[in-house]
Subunit: 207 residues, 2 copies
């Protein structure tokens, strides 16, 4: 019934890209429509507001990203490898973004969160929800590493949050300096935080 259209997904993709390469505030509805090749009337046919599109778009990308994370953090992979591979994937993604946009873009969730968390409640809640889910991956890996005696982590959740906060800080740094090389520090940094010395290779008991 009625005709079909891919305008909705085009709008979502355009918004994600514009927010990521710029900011929420610097992204206007007109810009989104132009990039998506959609008239403004159509925009408001599919979404009831700019916030609504952002919400849908973020949810959409997160669902996509989660599928990748589920593979990266598969229990089959050695726990610390999961975390390192996850960040290696980040790095690869940022490389592609640099090639495409000439800019290291960092983590869109955090950049957006920093910008709008005092401004838009609905957006903030959604971002919180996503980040909370994200940390679970780290937490699970840390707990497994502890259980396997690879590291000593009496409080896996706390340690995961440290690694997480650190990684977000790094990503932001890379965005601000437009420099991928900061991301290379993650591997050694994470090992320090997790209490694994360079001398004892991943997966081998320390001490």
């Amino acid at each position: 019934m009625g005709r079909t259209s891919d305008a909705k997904i085009r709008l979502i993709e355009a918004m994600i890209e514009l927010i990521w390469t710029g900011s929420y505030g610097s992204t206007s509805v007109d810009q989104i429509c132009e990039r998506a090749g959609v008239k403004k009337g159509s925009f408001y046919h599919f979404f009831e507001s700019k916030t609504d599109l952002a919400l849908t778009g973020i949810e959409h990308s997160w669902l996509e990203h989660r599928r990748e994370l589920d593979q990266t953090f598969s229990p089959v992979v050695p726990p610390l490898e999961r975390i390192l591979n996850c960040f290696r994937n980040f790095r690869k993604e940022q490389e592609e973004l640099l090639a495409k946009h000439g800019r290291v873009l960092g983590c869109p969730i955090h950049s957006l969160g920093a910008e709008i968390s005092t401004v838009d409640d609905r957006l903030r809640n959604k971002l919180q929800e996503i980040l909370s889910q994200f940390i679970l991956y780290y937490e699970c890996a840390v707990r497994d590493a502890d259980a396997q005696g690879i590291i000593e982590a009496p409080d896996a959740s706390a340690l995961a949050r440290i690694v997480f906060a650190y990684s977000e800080g790094l990503l932001l740094h890379a965005r601000m300096w437009n420099d991928l090389s900061y991301l290379d520090e993650f591997e050694s940094g994470a090992m320090i935080i997790l209490g694994v010395t360079k001398r004892s290779p991943t997966g081998v008991k320390k001490k």
Copy 2:
């Protein structure tokens, strides 16, 4: 020659507050003027653009903040205490902001940096400059701690950047969740990163 005025500083303070409690994009020149009790004509008498005011404002607050940091990071204070005290001051400041604005506001430099680093070059450069200077405090403290045998840090600069990235990640988390308690994790987190166990009190040789 001519009359004097405090409109300039009022504009600076209004803008800092508005950016901090909101965002750069959500802060308009009209808003700034209204809060400062200054007409727009006067605004453009003192500043040539919104960016220009932001630049001046950031520089201004940083210069103020530096004086505090110079005390906190005095070589007289035991190195690790400097870092902890610095973060304790952050926490205290955030407490005041929470009481005043009902919100944990985090680090304005990083929030702003996340928002505008792909949008405004001049602003980004200024923020880079400030953050680079900030890291020097941590770096110096870490190097001293290493020299005094309190910690083992062959690469003080790298370790300082880890602590720094971690602290920024935490601050952002606290802003997004509007929750001070995340900041309490810093103390134990920093100790883990710096390789100081809880059992060996600060300032006492480890191992």
